[in-house]
Every structure is written in C-alpha cells, then in structure tokens.
C-alpha cells in the first residue's frame, strides 16, 4: 500500500484514548502497531481529532527511539546491544549482518526486504547474544545463525 492510497481509520484509536489523560503516546503505539511506522498523514489526522498541535506530536515521536517516521523493511532484524550481549559478541554479530546485507545499522536493504537495527537490552540476557527477528526473540546467536536468519527473511517474502 502506498501512502497516497492508504485511508487510515484511526477514529477507533482516537475514541479509545481521547478522554483518557496522557494518552498521546498510547495512541501513537497503536498507530505504529498498525502501520509499522507513524505515517505523516496519520499524524495530521491525529492532531485534528485529538486536538493537539502537530508540532507536539512530532516533538514526542522524535524523542522516543521506538517510533519510526519511515516504513521499515518487510523484515526487521534487531540486534541487542545491551551489556550482556555486547560482552558475548553482539558487535561482531552486527558486523556480520552489515556485511552480508550490505547495509549499516539503522538501514534497510535496497530491495526493502530487511531492516537492520540495534536495540537496547531486550531482557533476555541469560541467552546472550540475542537477536529479535520480526518480534521473535532468538538467543545464543552464533556466526552461523546470521546467514540462516537472513535466508529465512528473504525466503518468506
């Protein structure tokens, strides 16, 4: 779906959160869950419906690491860069991903298939190093796992 053809329906989200105090971030979470990012036209709508200035919404989106303004790749690979994972070779794993995908951390491959990013501790340190692939946490990632994760991402689409 391109952004121009997309007619987002966020009225339910807005209805749910409008009356509650301090709900902007919760509404943004719902929007990102639905679209994978926060599209600009949705922010515009949200501003109108919730009666907050657009600038306030952008101020919030840009502060928090979790919110994205661009659509991610079809697959999202997050390498944990928390202390436990770092000590157990997370940096090396990330370099392997970068090399094999031909991207830097925070980028999406040219074909739009894989988005590589690093994240802060996902709380699974006992199994470090940890990689989260499309929401699924995978532990004890060795060099050989890097290749198979990439292969799996590419096959599924």
């Amino acid at each position: 779906m391109s952004e121009a053809t997309m007619v987002p329906d966020i009225s339910r989200t807005v209805q749910k959160w409008r009356k509650k105090r301090g709900s902007l971030i919760m509404a943004l979470h719902e929007i990102q869950n639905a679209y994978g990012y926060v599209p600009r036209n949705v922010s515009l709508q949200l501003a109108q419906l919730m009666d907050v200035p657009l600038a306030r919404i952008y101020e919030v989106i840009t502060f928090y690491n979790y919110f994205r303004l661009e659509p991610p790749g079809k697959n999202v690979v997050s390498v944990c860069m928390g202390t436990a994972c770092y000590l157990k070779g997370a940096k090396e794993r990330e370099n392997e991903f970068c090399e094999q995908l031909g991207v830097e951390e925070g980028e999406t491959t040219e074909d739009g298939q894989v988005h590589l990013q690093s994240v802060r501790c996902v709380g699974c340190c006992g199994l470090s190093p940890v990689v989260v692939v499309n929401g699924e946490t995978m532990g004890k990632i060795g060099p050989e796992d890097v290749k198979s994760i990439i292969r799996k991402c590419r096959e599924e689409h």
Binding site: V122, C124, L127, K140
Partner: protein, 519 residues
Amino acid sequence: MSTCGIAAGAEPVYRALADAVRDRELNIEVRKTGCVGMCSMEPLVEINVDGAPRTMYGEVGVDAALRLLDEHVGRKHVVPGFQVPGVDQLGFYEEPGHDPKAKQHRIVLRNCGIIDPTHIEDYIARGGYQGIKRALAELGPEGVIDEIKKSGLRGRGGAGYPAWMKWSFARKAEGDEKFMICNADEGDPGAYMDRSVLEGDPHAVIEGMLLAGYAIGATTGFMYVRAEYPLAIDRIENAIRQARRLGLVGKNILGSDFNYDLEVRLGAGAFVCGEETALMASIEGKRGTPWPRPPYPAEKGLWGKPSNINNVETLANVAPIIRNGGAWFAKIGTKKSSGTKVFAVTGKARHSGLVEIPMGTSLREIVMDVCGGVPPGRRVKAVQTGGPSGGVIPEDKLDTPVTYESLQELGSIMGSGGMIVMDDTDGMLDIARFYMGFCVEESCGKCAPCRIGGKQMMNILDKIADGNGTPDDIILLKRLARSMRKASLCGLGQTAPNPVLSTLRYFMNEYEEKLLQPV
C-alpha cells in the same frame, strides 16, 4: 514460558508435550509457568507425577521432551544427563564441592516458575491477595505504612530510599487526587528481574500496587512498562482484567470503601524515562525530560498531584511483608539492608540467570557458588553492578557483602540488580566506553553538563583507545566527571561518569598501557 524460555524454543516443546499427552490419553496436566531463573538452561521442563521423583530438566528439545514422557512418566525413573536442580531446591546452581551456605531465598520470586501467571487462582492458592485483605480488614493505611517501616524495605529501583518514608510523605501531602506509579521501565541493559516478575507473577506486583495505593490514599495506579517487553505487558494487562473481575481492582475493593483503578502506560524506548520525573512526563504524554527536584513527586507529581513511584521488585516485596509482618522481613538480610535482592547475573558467568539472595551475601558467593564462576580456563576479573550508573568491582574485593552502603563504598551501587561478570578477556577501557556511549545516546539533552560533558568524555576515551591519549587526558577525564556529577539535572548525568571513574580507580594500568607517555 517467559521471554527467555520462548526464545530458547519452549513453545514447540510445550506443544509436543501437550499433543503427546493428549494422543496417548495420559492423565497428566501440561502447564506453562513463568521464568524459573535458570535462563541459560532453557527450555526447562519440570516433571511432577505420582510415583516418580519430582525433577527439573534443562535444555530440553522436542525429542528429549518425548523421551522424558516415555521414561520419566512411563517408566518412573529420572532420565540421566540433563537433570538440573529444581525450583524448590534453593541453591539452584550449587554443584558438588561448592559452599552449601550459598543459598537462594525467594521472596520476590516466590511464585515464579511455580504458578501459571495467567491464572489468578494460582496466585490466590499460594496466599495471594491475603495482604490487601489484611490491610483492609485490620491495618488501615497507617498500619500498612507501619508494617513497611518495621520491615525496613528500601527501594529496589536504584537509590534504596526507605519505602515507608516515601509513602508517608505522599500520604501526608494535600491533594484531591493522588497517584501511585509502578516503575517497570527497567532500562538498565543487562537487567531483567522486573521483566521476570511481571511475566512470571504479575499479581504480586498488582497486590503491591494495591497496598501502596491504599497506604498513600491514591485513586489511580499507573503501571509504566517498557514497550520492549510485549509479553510482560500482555501478562500484566490480563492480570488487571482478572483482578477487576474479582473485585480486587475498581470500586469498593473487597467490599470496602477503597476505590482504586489500575492502568497500563507504555514506554517508547528512552532510558531516561526510568528516572522518576521523566517517567511522569512520559505518562503525561510528553517528551521524557526530567525536571529538577524539589518539588518531589510526593508533593507535585503526575499532573501536579501528589504521587508515589516504586520499582517492580520493591512492590513485589510488599504483599508478603503485610501478610507475614514487618518483623519477619527485617530478620532477613542485614540491619540496614533488609530482605533479599534479585540479581540478573550475566556476562561470562557459567550459569547466567536470576538469583535471589539475602542481603549481606558476598559477591563471591553469588558469582562463584551460586552461579558457578566463569568457564574453566578463565579467571573472574571483575563484576559490574548498577549498570550505566554503577561501576566495576575487581576480583579481590568480591568478599564484600552485598548491601547498599558496601557497594557504594567500592565506587559502585546496588542499582536495580544487573550483575555482569567479566573475565580476563574483557578490557576495562572498552567497558567504560560502552557505558559512556550508552549515556551519551540516552541523554535527553536538556542540560548541558550531561549533553556536552558526556560527549567530551567519550571523545577522550576514544582518543585513549586509539592510542593517542596522554596523561593529561586522564586529568581532564576526572575533571569532566566531577562537573557532570555536580551539575547535571538528573541521575542520568550525575551518575554517567561512574563506570569511567571506577575503571580508572581499579584498572588504571589498562589506561596507562594505551597512553603515549606513560604516567
């Protein structure tokens, strides 16, 4: 079935077992529980059937699980090879030849790995919600605060402030409306105690929230959970729904005139939001920038109303204290640091996972006896506690007992409970750079000492690492550290230099090796 178990492949193991039990028409129940704490040995399967010894098995795959059904359940004998100590054997990782005194004592983790966290009945069956019942029927708000005072419970989120004192300030504060907040942001990388409790025993935290809210006179409680913990969010939302259905949350709780509702709010990936004033800004739907204190949250917190904020682990301690009395709790641990502390021991530890030990246990007992030290052929070099706000503790100081004060004397802190074991292959300059880099990225940028000071310290550390440093750089590092400590707005900037200072204190030689002209 917690995040770590699922990550290690517990889901297919559960399905295989459940299917096999159904196909074979066996009369046994296959249950899911929360994290037991032995994360590096996941997936774990415990078998408890009549006629055979109750046994826990580690690193169980699908094939092994089916073999367990055949042999342990079918032929009633323990399958050798992958047996691990069970949940009820407190010294989990104890191995032959290790000090038997090194035992865990589970208060916070009392139900983790034992109950099914998605069933409120399981929690109630183990004495759950007796604390709030006693509070409403017998103690009253002041009585609750009194018991907590007797217990000596101190905050487990970092600073170790006495819980009763904060509650008492919030209780006394004037306001038509008051808020109770649970800090489940757990931003310290390498720490996941709070996640395990939320996933493995969410009702324990809810009961703590009820008691704290009742004590301070709150009408609403907010659970602020980081978005990186989807399973914990699920479990806590489910638990709130169940509690509401049973009249434990909402209007006229347990038939009393106590009205109190609970709501979940999500973080969005900002470490600084664990800091209490930034967290409140975030709940209000704003950027998570801290504000200078005073005013303290007890006077002017969320939306300017009196508020109290406690950490997940602090709250998980509350119900047992109210149920068993403050005096019971005060007897555990040391005089000034009572009770237990949960540590997430990771890094190079042989058995990484969660351990709950009485305060006063030595670091050596935790690392060597409970967690089995480092793999053979390696040497423990240091232990890092307190995350980005803490410091390293060298091997020769490991006999120090764990208390708030003793760790501080060593230049580290108790922190939230991340404990990272480092061996002789880990470089201390690299660790210092790792934490400083973390703080630079996570600084909210509101105050200059943190924003600029952190960046400058980082530049110097990089320069030293690249072999271009001089002794003057060490002096400059220390001077910058002092200014950041003194002048930063919030705890993030005030404590960010700690990892650098503590590595300088104990491992100066590693810096010197890199300097152009040695000192």
